[in-house]
């Protein structure tokens, strides 16, 4: 996994780089927007962490050029400015996520993991989450290598949750993703599917958290300490 960090503050850039290297990523650093666009054109990165406040070509312009060149590489935008416009502008230009400085490092690494996982889910047929693996083409699920029986609705709910690990997925958006055109699904039905999924997945250490009054969140997989 290769990450390009575009940040002009040398201290933050080196700190980020070393933290991500410690997580097992290969990291390249640059402090200029022009160089970032050039590097992304020539080489393949799994993620770009892009600061907005760069000297010369700013992060917005670099992002525009990256997307203009049809690069689908996930981009996590960092900013020290706090205006809603920055956030909206960044997301409009095709940023995949957005973090305001200063940030807690565990949160950054969690978002990096989520972005890379999401982009792989979009590109490849196989989605993994700890011991769980979904083959989206064959529509088969495996848990610790064993085939896992999932009803069609359970599969659909799990797919939605896997697409947004560590993020709350509202009940409404699960209903929208799961229900067909001519069906009415009650929130209670979703609860039933969630509880069935839990009974199938929890023994393998995969947790689905209920966020009261809002929805569900597939927690990050933590290997059980044996």
């Amino acid at each position: 996994m290769r990450i390009l960090i575009v940040e002009d503050d040398p201290s933050l850039a080196s700190g980020l780089g070393r933290i991500l290297e410690a997580e097992g990523y290969a990291v390249d650093l640059t402090s200029r927007g022009e160089q970032a666009v050039e590097a992304a054109r020539q080489e393949r990165f799994d993620l770009v962490i892009l600061d907005i406040g760069l000297p010369g070509m700013d992060g917005f312009e670099a992002l525009r050029r990256l997307r203009g060149a049809e690069h689908r590489v996930p981009v996590l935008v960092l900013t020290a400015r706090d205006t809603v416009n920055d956030r909206v502008h960044g997301l409009d230009l095709g940023a995949d996520d957005y973090m305001a400085k200063p940030f807690a490092m565990p949160e950054l690494t969690a978002r990096v993991r989520a972005l890379i996982r999401r982009s792989q889910a979009q590109t490849g047929p196989r989605v993994t989450h700890g011991p769980l693996m979904l083959d989206t083409v064959a529509r088969r699920a495996y848990l610790s290598g064993e085939p896992l029986e999932l009803a069609a609705r359970e599969w659909a709910v799990l797919e939605v949750l896997l697409g947004r690990v560590e993020k709350i997925v509202s009940k409404e958006s699960i209903i929208q993703a799961v229900a067909g055109w001519d069906e009415e699904l009650s929130p209670n039905a979703i609860e039933v599917y969630i509880s069935r999924l839990r009974s199938k997945l929890e023994r393998a250490g995969i947790k689905i958290r209920t966020v009261r009054g809002f929805g569900y969140m597939l927690e990050e997989y933590k290997a059980p300490v044996s």
């Binding site: 201290s11 933290i19 960092l78 400085k101 200063p102 709350i168 809002f214 969140m217």
Partner: protein, 457 residues
């Protein structure tokens, strides 16, 4: 209207300025009218009194040293007959003895005794005010005194007529003038009143110029000066905002770097240095949070802002930040729940997010470990909205609720390392949105519930 405020009102000022000249003109014109009209009229009456005296003088007869008045009854009748007044007379011989008429008719005071001809004076007779004329008439080589007096009904009547005919209209005119000023000022100042109403209704953040099309010509310079001032305030606000944005940027990037390196150092350090480095890391995290809070506070109170107010949907706003809160809630083993209904308010989404994050942060920090925190939002009343955060922790004692809104104040016994800025920021942001902040208890009087109520959406 009290005297003090009267001093400062335009109406009071105008009235005082007018009152003296109007009263003066009224007095002068009344006196002038009185004397110009009354003098000739009374002079005519006085002349006829003297004529009557002279006529009586003609009737003095002297024979054998005794003077008598030869006045036939018919003639006396004529003398005494008057349409309005009673007429009295007395004739005294040189010795002063009354020889005819009403002996009691008063003589003029000594100082006014006539030397050769006649004197006119006011006196009283039989309980009536009288006007009298005293004349000297020759009799038997000496001087007799003739006094003719009449009551003053005619004269009083004349005075009344003059007063009614000329002074009263003038007095009415003067009173009318003052009344017109009284109401005219209020009426004339109506545009000013409307102007001040318009300014009064503005929010503290509205620094747009006042429209000049509906203001009267006379107030244009005032409105112009106000608009100049508004422009300058807005400019200085903008400068402050720019400064804050730059300061934020300059502060946050190195803080992020410091946090990153402190974290690396904690992991890489030998056991002996680890706890010190953990302190460094904790301090960096706290400093970052404090910097964020100070910047948010400054931005909330700066009045103006970089972005115009927008329609903010509170349910979506909460859902947008819920991810960040849930992880913190998981760390503290708190059940974070939501009861969200759609509602919109006008405001600054970023500041509202900051306010909510502070409330949730507080609830997670100071609520019970393993407890419950609930975020609610929805419509309130006709067009209002509310958002509240409730926990089931120890709560804030009623006596402390006022003080916890003060900057840097931390209630006694508060755990953790907070800055004491969180609620002050929430308060400031609520105020900037014309919203109110209320601190209360959770259900069953347990825990803490903080509610922000917005007036209208």
């Amino acid at each position: 209207m009290s005297d003090r405020s009267g001093d400062r009102t335009l109406r009071g000022h105008l009235l005082r300025q007018l009152l003296l000249p109007v009263a003066g003109i009224l007095a002068v014109s009344s006196i002038a009218a009185y004397y110009l009209a009354l003098d000739p009229a009374t002079e005519a009456h006085d002349a006829s009194l003297i004529d009557a005296g002279l006529a009586l003088g003609e009737r003095l007869r002297t024979s054998g040293g005794i003077t008598t008045l030869d006045l036939p009854v018919a003639a006396e009748q004529v003398l005494r007959t008057d349409k309005y007044d009673s007429v009295f007379y007395v004739v005294r011989d040189p010795s002063g003895k009354a020889i005819a008429g009403d002996a009691g008719v008063p003589l003029p005071p000594k100082s006014q005794r006539p030397q050769d001809s006649s004197v006119l004076y006011n006196a009283e007779y039989r309980g009536n005010k009288v006007r009298a004329a005293t004349l000297l008439a020759p009799c038997a080589g000496q001087v007799c005194t003739i006094v003719v007096a009449e009551t003053t009904r005619k004269r009083d009547r004349l005075v009344r007529e003059i007063l009614l005919g000329s002074v009263l209209p003038q007095a009415l005119l003067a009173v009318l003038t003052l009344i017109i000023v009284w109401f005219g000022v209020a009426r004339g100042l109506l545009p000013l009143q409307r102007l001040s109403d318009e300014i009064g209704k503005r929010s503290a953040r509205d620094l747009s110029p006042i429209g000049t099309e509906h203001v009267p010509e006379e107030t244009r310079p005032l409105v112009g000066a106000l608009n100049q001032l508004l422009l300058r305030v807005e400019e200085s606000n903008r400068n402050q905002q720019r400064f804050l944005a730059n300061a934020a940027h300059q502060l946050r990037t190195p803080l992020a770097g410091l946090q990153a390196h402190a974290e690396l150092a904690v992991k890489a350090a030998p056991e002996s240095a680890r706890s010190e480095l953990a302190q460094v890391h904790a301090a960096a995290v706290r400093m970052a949070r404090l910097a964020n809070q100070l910047l948010a506070l400054a931005r909330a109170e700066a009045g103006g802002r970089l972005e115009p107010p927008a329609t903010v949907e509170l349910k979506a706003l909460v859902e947008g930040v819920a991810d960040e809160w849930v992880h913190r809630a998981m760390d503290r083993d708190v059940d974070l729940g939501f009861e969200l209904r759609s509602v919109t308010v006008q405001g600054d989404a970023l500041l509202l997010r900051e306010a909510l994050s502070n409330l949730v942060h507080n609830a997670l920090e100071y609520g019970a470990r393993g407890g419950h925190v609930t975020v609610r939002t929805g419509p309130q009343g006709e067009r209002g909205a509310f958002v509240e955060v409730e926990d089931d922790g120890p709560g804030i004692p009623a006596a402390e609720r006022e003080r916890v809104l003060e900057r840097f104040y931390r209630a006694p016994g508060t755990p953790g390392t907070g800055s004491g800025l969180g609620l002050a920021i929430v308060q400031e942001i609520a105020a900037a949105h014309g919203a109110t902040l209320a601190i209360g208890e959770g259900p069953d009087g347990k825990g803490c519930r903080v509610t922000i109520r917005f007036g209208h959406g």
